[in-house]
Symmetry: C2
Subunit: 168 residues, 2 copies
DNA sequence: CTTGGAGTGTCAACAAGACTGACATATTAT
DNA sequence: ATAATATGTCAGTCTTGTTGACACTCCAAG
């Protein structure tokens, strides 16, 4: 193929072979396995799974969020989320309060016990993230976030951006 | 909280708050959704799922790989993989050849039809990866890979490193 | 005030894809 | 010969996702 010999450095560095992209795809696959490994190990001992982890993560992140909002963020059906929420509420990890303005809505909060579990799971996951950040260095971390953000669907990106940012 | 006012820049930039790490965790979660979205859409029309995609990806990557090897890379049980492989072989997307040195082993190859599907799925996934790489720039891509690699379990990292690298 | 629609909860049925455990069969290594 | 390895398969379970249907509460528009 007739690739021009000289271009500016930005463009030439952005000539990406299929093999380079493939390696990036594999990095995502393997890294995600590591990313979920620690919480999964903790959850395996209890009657909970990854879905419960996700629910309590985002409830802790946005206390008082509604079921519908959580639905959108998690990208699952209400039936699927409801099963998870029901067990968490029954077990006393999550509290569901009827909305005062709109009584159809349920606002979700972690109980003390729920916050305990969330902390335990988050600690494990953050520890791995922290170790990876330290190993890679600050510049790498910035790049990491940039690429991940560019990989999100625009709608999802919108929800992501609305979550409190810890970069300040 | 007696943080020394002056440290070297590397250390001070590596002081990571829980909120910063939390944001990174969420970035992984949302980005992985985008990462799998395109192949999932294609597969939804067929009788295949994400598990089939993973299998043919790594068969295409390491033609002639054995069942046991694939098992380790994918991190699933042989029963789980066998179900997937069986359908792929029955449908003529994957060929299983008895090993010539060790006749217990089965070496796996994509057929022409299998390679077609693999290409279709990979094209979609690579396109998103390429777009994200372009949007973030070359420096970000390097950091992205560094952090992901540091996040992998050491054993898995070993398998990852052994796959052909496209960075040359 | 009635009616329509939105937000929520719940029931039932189902499917993908993971798991464990047990067992069969070749084949190779000791 | 015997033990270990590589694979395949059957049976059962679990988590987590899906559709579809239906009821209830509440808000807002007519």
């Amino acid at each position: 193929m007739s690739e021009p010999a000289n271009r500016n450095s930005g463009e030439s560095l952005l000539f990406l072979t299929d093999e380079q992209l493939r390696k990036g795809i594999e990095a995502m696959f393997f890294a995600y396995r590591g990313f979920t490994a620690d919480p999964d190990r903790i959850l395996a001992d209890m009657a909970y799974g990854r879905a419960h982890h996700r629910a309590i993560h985002f409830i802790r992140r946005s206390p008082g969020t509604t079921v519908n909002n959580l639905l959108t963020i998690l990208g699952v059906t209400k039936q699927s989320l409801n099963r998870v929420l029901r067990t968490l509420i029954e077990d006393g990890l999550v509290e569901s309060r009827v909305g005062r303005r709109d009584k159809r809505e349920r606002h979700l909060y972690l109980t003390e016990r729920g916050a305990d579990l969330e902390g335990q799971l988050s600690d494990a996951q953050r520890e791995r993230m922290r170790a990876a950040y330290r190993a890679a260095g600050p510049a790498a971390v910035a790049g990491f976030r940039q690429v991940l953000e560019a990989m999100m669907d625009p709608e999802i990106r919108h929800h992501y951006d609305r979550l409190k940012d810890g970069s300040s």
